[in-house]
Amino acid sequence: MISVRDVAVTFMRGTPNEMQALRGVTLSLAQEEFVTVIGSNGAGKSTLLNAIAGDVSVTAGTISIDDKDTTLQGAHGRAPHVARVFQDPMAGTCGSLSIEENLALAARRGQRRTMRSALRTSEKATFRERLAKLGLGLERRLEDRVGLLSGGQRQAVSLLMATLAPSRILLLDEHSAALDPQASATVLSLTDQFVRELKLTTLMITHSMRDALAYGNRIVMLHQGRIIFEASGAEKAKLQVPDLLERFAKLGSTAADNDRLLLN
């Protein structure tokens, strides 16, 4: 179980540019829960995710994984528990390494890295099998540089990498936003498939209200660094895009003016 308690994050503290990205967020995710997070630009979605991953240090509050306080741990210290896929397909994979090298690197997340050969014949079969599940024909291109793949393919590989080693939570940071609609749909359905099959606890940030409603069993709406609305189970299932729009409209101009959010 992941629990975020009263977490606040302030950037550039003590300067005129001080920015309160999170102002006391409390959120806990039970085992196998799939939570989607929506909110306008600057609502603190990415900051929340980066705080859980350990990329951003919190100003106040605690973050614990399985009742162990990880607030002070850095990103690589939390890596045994946290898997993530970034928004930018370039960020989650290493373009100058081959597909199999990327997968081998990710498969060893959370383990001690040894002087044993990084690429083992025994693992290649597993990699091929998992790549085949993506349905993109990548299982025949194990030795190709990831830099030769399209954005959608890279993101699918990122997603696969995040699921190779066990994790307590999978963090998805608008991971389909930078892709064309078709690739985006592919990556999202793969995500749903992986989360179900591997029973992953997942936190997915999205700009698309439709996706936020279509996936997961709980929805969280962030606004100006606070959680302003939550729904889960049957209540979430009943929600429609207009319901969410209405909630955003109530927040006043700051949220409703957000074109990107409305057009989605």
Binding site: A53, D55, A75, H76, A79, P80, R84, F86, M90, A91, G92, T93, C94, G95, S96, L97, S98, E101, A104, L105, A106, R108, R109, G110, Q111, R113, T114, M115, R116, S117, A118, L119, R145, G147, M161
Partner: protein, 273 residues
């Protein structure tokens, strides 16, 4: 780089002329080189100094340290016993002995490097260089890898300096100048000749690149027709690196493959620290 090379030469020369075992002297040069690398890494990671500046600063400091180590700007090793001495006793000509010893050293180092780079730890280090954010997300301790990487590379440069001093028969505070350009030239030429990413081949490419570079420079300076003098060395070096870079870049564009990764300015994945 320039600093660790001269320091390696200085340490080896000081120890050998002081009557110490040349093998021990060479290993000490490796260790001291590694310490120089760590100094750069500390400035960069611990204190957040730009990597290039950290490297330049270490290099400048090492110039003075070299003078302290040697006690004077130049130490001759002609009369001393070096790592070459036991091989010279075998009775082959000087040229053959030197080439053989240098070749053995290159093979040993390249083999060890290949084993390392192909291992899990080596893969983590390569990822650290290419995409630190992705490496961190996969549980790689990026800082530690940068410390180890800089220590390893500068240690090897220190060893190279030690061997150079013993081959040349002297150590001088100036021997390190241009090492970094020479290293880049070797890598770029190697990448141009063998456009591959397979680690063993990449290492072989570097070795051949460095031999080729020396040959071309030697040829250019010795060809009477070109009218070059030995003082033109640096100009020839710079032109060679520039030409090799442009050629590999053009070829990269034609094949939609990346050119030499070492020196491209705008990399989408963030520069290695």
């Amino acid at each position: 780089m320039d600093g660790s090379f001269a320091t390696g030469a200085a340490v080896a020369a000081a120890l050998i002329s002081g009557g110490h075992n040349p093998w021990l002297a060479s290993l000490t040069a490796l260790a001291v080189g590694a310490l120089c690398g760590l100094a750069t890494a500390v400035l960069n990671r611990r204190f957040g100094m730009l990597h290039l500046l950290a490297g330049i600063l270490t290099t400048i400091a090492l110039f003075s340290i070299d003078l302290r180590i040697m006690g004077r700007p130049n130490v001759p090793l002609i009369a001393e016993s070096t790592v070459l001495t036991p091989f010279e006793a075998l009775g082959f000509s000087d040229a053959v002995t030197r080439a053989a010893v240098a070749g053995i050293a290159a093979i040993v180092v390249a083999t060890l490097l290949a084993i390392f780079l192909l291992s899990e730890r080596g893969l983590a280090m390569r990822a650290t260089g290419a995409n630190p954010r992705m490496a961190r997300a996969n549980g790689v301790d990026v800082d530690r890898n940068i410390y180890i990487g800089l220590a390893m590379s500068n240690g090897l440069v220190g060893l190279a300096g030690a061997l150079f001093a013993q081959f040349a028969g002297f150590a001088d505070v100036g021997v390190g100048t241009g090492t970094i350009i020479f290293g880049l030239a070797a890598v770029i030429l190697g990448e141009t000749l063998f456009p591959t990413r397979r680690i063993p081949v990449v290492l072989i490419a570097c070795v051949f690149g460095s031999i080729l570079y020396r040959l071309v420079v030697g040829l250019a300076l010795n060809l009477q027709i070109l009218g070059l003098r030995s003082s033109d060395l640096r100009l020839v070096t710079a032109l060679l690196v520039a030409v090799a870079f442009v050629v590999s870049q053009k070829r990269g564009a034609l094949r939609r493959k990346a050119g030499p990764a070492v020196l491209r300015v705008s990399s989408k994945e963030g520069a290695p620290s």
